[in-house]
Amino acid sequence: MSTAATEEITLTRKDFISDQTVRWCPGCGDYSILAQMQRILPETGVPKEKTVFISGIGCSSRFPYYMNTYGIHSIHGRAPALATGLAIANPELSIWVITGDGDGLSIGGNHLLHAIRRNVNLNIVLFNNRIYGLTKGQYSPTSRPGTVTKSSPMGSVEQPLNPIAVALAAEATFVARSIDSHPQHLAAILERTAEHQGASFLEVYQNCVIFNPNEWTELSDRRNRDDSILYLEHGKHMIFGKNRDKGIRLNGFTPEVVSLDEVDLDEILVHDATSRPLASILGSMEFPDYPAAMGVIRDVRKPDYGGEMMAQVETAQAQRGAGDLNQLYLAADLWTVEEREEAEEREITPVASDLDEMPITGLDEEYIDEMEKPAEALSEFQDLLVTSTLAALEPNVPITVGKRSSLARTIRQMNRHNIGCVLVTDEEDRLIGIFTEWDVLNRVAGIVDDMAQQRISDYMTPEPLALKADLPIAQALNLMSLHGFRHLPLVDEGGSPSGIISFRDVVGYLNEALEEE
């Protein structure tokens, strides 16, 4: 018997990016969630063909199009129902349900509850922006009382649902919360969500930049967010604050915020993700009365629905043999419905419709108006980020080497020019790769003996992301922060290298551009 070694394929973020045009508004928090999902999936080790994204209806529900995995953009609110069937029929799959506060808690409230209650092996991510975005700005089941929208002109009079409390009411075995504007935290919690066996429920506070842009301001402002967020870690004291000087203490059944200057550490609550009562307390702590609890609120292991059900099927089959669907069908009382003659004669008259005549452009114009209305109080700096182009950084002329260059020669060249990165080009001077000091450290030093015999094309990173010089600086910042790229090549229209920019160039430029008086 031959045992052919199967080569392990290492996936990267790129493998999970689909070729579809992303149709979210620029600035939408969904981009951040998508980027972090694409970042963590390679690390979970689950192959693409075993990963499925199922969504309902709404802005967040466009998610499956943008993931290069299997996906179903399903019926409004019914994603958990489809996902339940899939999880039972094919327990090998890693199934993500992507939903929003409208899709998951309004029309799909029941499905969500029951998928959680049954502990189906799903990863449910609920994007909570507390507004209906796709239908252009009506209040949602999580909107705060008093929220003024197009459908609540005098302010909402409804009590909102608390998604964490809803999930806990269904006895969710994994409950967590994160926020789009904190990508490191979000990535870590998405990984935990993927790891948990059974129904995992993750609420992500997400910014709707068009219809509800100020909902999470206090929690997303980098300067003081740590004063508003309680980062939960199992077994650790519930301490928070930018200077870690505040804590949570229980006063009877009620949590209270205390200053660590006045209260001993042993009075401060210690997080226990296996405690059901503690989860309820954390779920009930609403910002701004309390810091918003972020992280894994509850994480316990219980048998999952698919496994339990399939065990029963196997037991039944062992006792009674394999079933026969046809026999079961024929065993029931059967009858035939006779066609009635008069039914044939009835004429179906089409309902007169003016719909075809109606202009359907109105809504889109309204949307474009919203998109194009001048942003409120954009600071000079924010303005600089989006209007100043990469050309303003006066990028260095890149050092390039041909793809047939040897490793030894390339490294000599980098040392001679005292640079950390070279670009690799083909015969027509088009950019085909990038080679950095990290590659030397990671793939060459102490590994390759005969550097003169090795071609650079076998050691470079092929097809690097490259930008054109007329793009805003924010685009480079986006790639550098998401991917950790320390160098970004610039290319001209023909794909030839025209410049290279580094972390230091960008930070230096921004730091000097608006020199204070």
């Binding site: 620029p26 967010r225 990671n442 030093a445």
Partner: protein, 163 residues
Amino acid sequence: MSLQSDLKTELVSHLAVSDFTQVVAGTPVRDTLARMRADRQVVCLVVDEDAADESGRRQLVGIFTERDVMRRVIDAAGTLDRPVDEVMTPDPITIGPDASAADALRLMDEIHVRNLPVVDEDGELMGNMTHQAIIQYLADRYPVEVLNRPLDPEQFPRKAEGG
């Protein structure tokens, strides 16, 4: 509000500086490289156990970066089995956790370094300040402008389509 005024009020310890790799002095270069690869870090801080103070705190004695790999390791046969001490930069300039981010940045520019180890007043190693920490801060500080951009910058949906 400019970047400068933000960075003046932000302390180094409030930036993403705590993710760093360290080895003890005497570790062979080969093992140091292996650790850096495993941690996916381009910088390794070198601490000395023998020179630990009364409370057992290890002292920072050097810094070893990808640049040192380029300059002192790649072409010198036999370096791999030598202790990292021989190829590191000894006694690097450090900064305190309560310095402002703006001061750290200015210092990095002045002395032309890409890494500034963060050491508190008791000599405890707390992190490594880099330009990346500033990039990360900017992304978090301006998520609408920086974080939430289409992957393909030329695309801009003119219509809100589909559910």
